[in-house]
Every structure is written in structure tokens, then in C-alpha cells.
Amino acid sequence: MQKSFSIAPAQIFGAIMFVAAAAAGPLLPDWIVSLTTIAFANALVVLGLVVLWRAGLVSFGQALYYCIGAYVVALSARWTGFTDAIALVLIGGIAAGFVAFLIGFLLARYREIFFAMLSLALSMILYGVLVKTESLGSTDGFSVETPTFFGYAPHGEMLGRSLYWLTLAIDAAAAVFIAWYFRSVAGSLAAPIRDNEIRVEFLGVSVTRIIHTKVVIAGVLGGLGGALAAMSVGHVDPNMAYWTTSGGFVFVTVLAGSGYVAAAFVGSLVFEAVRSFAYAFMPQFWQLTLGTVLLLTILFLPDGIGSLVSRLKRRQQAPEAGL
């Protein structure tokens, strides 16, 4: 069920898409730029979920890292007055990664539903703590200071575009790293772990350590996504740690499928488009629309959008392949 994707064409395609997206920035209207920035920030969290899903694990608690990344950025700016965007994003990612490292010792011992439930419980605990913290505004949250870029302080359109390019840059870096990871030994062991862990142990590999690593990678990505989202939206609140936020990320993961790195970004854009569509056309029934899209995707496109591409390729290759 896992497809190994051919290396060169997919990466070139990815690189072209990123450059095209970056170039399109100044040409697109502001509201599309900000919408896309948020979608691409969320795509990072989805990428982390894809990493875990390849090994057969679904986390219903990625919102924990998303929220940590966001609050670290917002609090650093508020308490220290430091507003450099790149540094803040990295701090957010590292903080989330550190928490993931600690939690991973516990989480890596669980599988399937219990992994999902425990991750959910942990993110809800953070939610509870933030709601109780009145000095941080409780459920109202608080706003994020306007970020600066190495001393340059853009406003209005340029601010939106700068955040957009920053998000694209970090996305591209993450995509390259994750693509490399998938090709590495630890990454390619994901499918065997999913199919039959015990045999992988017999090979002399520590499954727990690999899963711990994946939890940390997903945590860092979640934190980076949250940090970028915080700066783009300009506001953080405890809802970012609520289980329905995690549910939204899982939704996009299903939409994207686990076959391709690029699918996480495309899937995130598609989700944002479907959501806007649902809000604009069926404002009282958007839940119905989203639920139906999810259901149809699972029933008819179980491997996500990425599988559309591989199906196309397989049809082209079928005469030669033989299997």
C-alpha cells in the first residue's frame, strides 16, 4: 500500500511549485495570500501527521505542539519585545520539539487507539491549563506583536507577503528534509513497522526509538506550523490546543494521503478551499459539507489526493510493470 515515489521528477515538480507559489505572491490579492499562508502553515502539522501515519500511528493531539509553537512565539514577543520572525519560528519549533522529546518517552510505547487517546489527553491538559490562566486572557487569548525580519518592519501588504515567503521557505526546507527522511533507513522502516512490528524488532532495530524520533519530528513540525500560524493570524488562544483542532489536521491528512510529501501542501490548500466554499455557500450547514467531503474521500479516495497522481502514473506504466 505504500508507494515509493520516483525521486527526481517529484522533487523537481515540488521545487517548481514552490518557486511558482513564491513568485505568484505579489500578483495575488491579499486575502488569497493570507489564506494560503495559513493553509501552508497548517500543512507543516499535516506533514508531521503523515510521518506518523506511515508508521501506522494517528495522533489526535498534534494541536498540543501547534499551540506550544504559537504561544511561545506570542509570549516571547510579549515578554522580551523580541520580534524577529525567523528566530521566533525556530524557537517555537524547538520548544515544541523539546516537549515532544519528553512526551515521546511515554507515547512511543503505545499504538493504535491508545496512542491517539493519550495524545488527545495530553493536548486537552494543555488546553485546561491555558483556560485557567487568566493572566494570558483565558479563552480570549491575546494578540501577537507584528513580526520583523532582521530589523526590517513591513506593514500592510508587504507584511502579508513577507510572512507568505517565510512560510513557503520553511515549508520547502521541511519538504526537503522529510523527503530525505523518507528515503533514509529510519524513514523506510515506517511501512514494515506498520505491517509487523515484531519482525522489525527481530531485525535488531529498536522500534520504540524510531517511533520516538517520529514523534519528535512531528512535534517540531507542529511547533513550526503553530508559530507561523500565530504570526499570520496575529492572535493566539487556547482553542489551538483543543481536540477538534487536532481533528482538523487529521482530516487534512486523510485528504492528502501518505504517499507524497507534496500531498500535505496540496491537501491543506484544498481543505481551506473547501472550508471557504462551505462557509460562503452553506453558512448554516458547513459541518454537513465538510463531513460529506471527508466521508466521500475516505470511501472513494482512501489513499488521499496523492493517490490520484500515482493512479495516473500506474496507468501509464502498467504495460511495462507487469504486477
Binding site: I113, M117, L118, A121, L122, L290
Partner: protein, 298 residues
């Protein structure tokens, strides 16, 4: 002393509510290995259905006990119908797939059903307070207890006893236990696993709807009650162990009493209590209190 008594009674009442809601979920998971997010919808439909039934019996001026029975039956009938539609129409298509995929299917269905509720009943809230008012209350020292709450505990006990008895002593119950233990071997012995699945899902749905029906007189039946209940039910089932009725009972009791204690003694932590207990139990017993680790098939 009074506080301790209050904690006990409040804990029991809350536990009764949790148990009735969680037992359907744990049954479905135990037999079908499906974590049914739609359980929240069964609860909501049960609550709305029983509110409608309450309106009918109040308008007709029936006897309170009869009316209450009517509410429960009406709600369970709705649960039955919904369970049939879902199981036949949707779940059949996805049985073979990954567990997590099935969870997502039930999550998607839950989203859809939330809006179906609005389509049927509209966005306003409904009241079904008649049985609770009719039941009256009793005073114990400074404390006043609602007889309806006591009735809830009785209902939960009856449900628990029925479940225990039918699993142990009826033929169908023993079939169910076999399927819970090992589906493939049960099928190899000629048990009609598909039929067992369907019947189990229907029972689970009816129990979920029953949960909504017994809670309806206490609360305001409004949008979103399904969402709150799902997380609670999951936590109880995770604590007790998936598929274990005793687990659901003990899990409900633990959560109920811990929460009541928190509210009386340390109100600040009330929000975390359920997640904290769940995390704690899972750390010590990864599969819940009453379920041993399954032997893994190589």
C-alpha cells in the same frame, strides 16, 4: 462528614450518567473494534427524541411514569433506526479497512448528523424537565437530593446488571464474549460474526440513545451536547478498558468520584481531572484497567 456524603452521592450520580453513556461505546469497540464517534450523535438524537416525546406526553396530560417510559422507548426506537441505517448503509462498506480509517468515517458521520439535527429540530433548544419535576426531592440533613438523580443511579445499576447477566448467562451473550475475545476463531467455529456485529451495533446505538433520553430531563437539549459527551465516554472507556463492561462501570465510578471530590475540595482542577485520570491509568495499565495486553499475531 456531610461533604464526604455529598461527594459520594454526587460521584454516584455522575458515574451513573457516564456509565449509561459509555457502556454502548465499549460494547461496540469490544466486539467490532470500532471507536464509534457517532456515539455522540446517538446520545444527541436520544435526547432530542425524548424531548419531543416529553412534549407529546405533556400535551396529552398522561401519567408521569407512563410518559417517562414513553420517552425512553421513543428514544431507543430512534437509536435502533439510526443504528440500522448506519450499520447497513455505511459501516458495511468499510469493515475490512484500517481501524483508524473507520474512526474517521464515524467522525465524518458525526459531523453530518450534527447538521441533520438542525435540519430536523432547528437550532433552538428543547426542554424535557417534566419527569425530573414530577419526581420531587428528599432532604438529608442540609443536603437536598433530587429523586430523579437517585432514579438515574437505579437505572444505571439495572443496565449494568442486565448487561452482566446477559453476557454471562444467555447464549447470545456468550457468543458476544467469544467474538470479543477472538473474532477469527469465532468465525472458524461457525458463529455468524456479521450478524453479531449488526446486533451489537444496534444494542450500542440504543444504549447511546438511552443515555441521551435519561439525561434530557436534567439538561437543556441543545446543539453540541453530542460533542461534550464523546470525550467523556472515550475517557471512561479508555480507563476501564475497551470492550469491558466491568471496566466501564469501574471507570465511570472512578471518574465520577474524582470529579465530585474535585468540585467540592479543589475546584481549580475540575477541568483536568478526567484527562489526568485517563493519562495516569494509561501510563500504568496501557490497555485500561480490565483488559490484558492482547497476544500479538506475528
Amino acid at each position: 462528614m456531610l461533604t464526604a456524603f455529598a461527594i459520594l452521592t454526587d460521584g454516584l450520580v455522575y458515574a451513573a450518567y457516564l456509565f449509561i453513556v459509555a457502556i454502548g461505546l465499549t460494547l461496540i469497540f469490544g466486539v467490532m473494534k470500532i471507536l464509534n464517534v457517532t456515539h455522540g450523535s446517538f446520545y444527541a438524537f436520544g435526547a432530542y427524541g425524548s424531548a419531543t416525546a416529553a412534549g407529546i406526553y405533556a400535551a396529552g396530560g398522561w401519567n408521569a411514569a407512563l410518559g417517562f417510559l414513553f420517552m425512553l422507548t421513543f428514544a431507543m426506537a430512534i437509536g435502533l433506526v439510526m443504528g440500522l441505517i448506519l450499520e447497513r448503509g455505511l459501516l458495511r462498506q468499510v469493515y475490512g479497512k484500517d481501524e483508524v480509517v473507520i474512526v474517521l468515517v464515524t467522525y465524518a458521520t458525526f459531523l453530518i448528523l450534527e447538521d441533520v439535527i438542525v435540519l430536523i429540530w432547528g437550532p433552538q433548544s428543547y426542554a424535557a424537565y417534566q419527569p425530573m419535576v414530577a419526581a420531587g426531592n428528599i432532604e438529608i440533613g442540609e443536603l437536598v437530593l433530587s429523586n430523579y438523580d437517585i432514579g438515574l443511579v437505579v437505572i444505571a445499576t439495572v443496565v449494568a446488571a442486565l448487561a452482566y447477566w446477559s453476557l454471562r448467562f444467555t447464549r447470545y451473550g456468550r457468543l458476544l464474549t467469544t467474538v470479543i475475545f477472538d473474532r477469527e476463531t469465532a468465525a472458524a467455529f461457525g458463529i455468524n460474526v456479521t450478524l453479531v456485529y449488526t446486533v451489537t451495533f444496534l444494542i450500542g446505538a440504543m444504549l447511546g440513545a438511552l443515555g441521551g433520553a435519561v439525561m434530557a430531563p436534567k439538561i437543556s437539549v441543545t446543539l453540541g451536547i453530542g460533542v461534550e459527551v464523546i470525550v467523556l465516554a472515550f475517557a471512561v472507556v479508555a480507563i476501564g478498558g475497551m470492550g469491558s463492561i466491568e471496566g466501564a462501570l469501574i471507570g465511570a465510578l472512578i471518574v465520577g468520584i474524582c470529579r465530585a471530590a474535585a468540585v467540592h475540595l479543589v475546584p481549580q482542577i475540575e477541568l483536568f481531572v478526567i484527562y489526568g485520570v485517563m493519562a495516569l491509568v494509561l501510563v500504568v495499565r496501557p490497555y485500561g484497567l480490565f483488559v490484558r495486553a492482547q497476544p500479538r499475531k506475528i
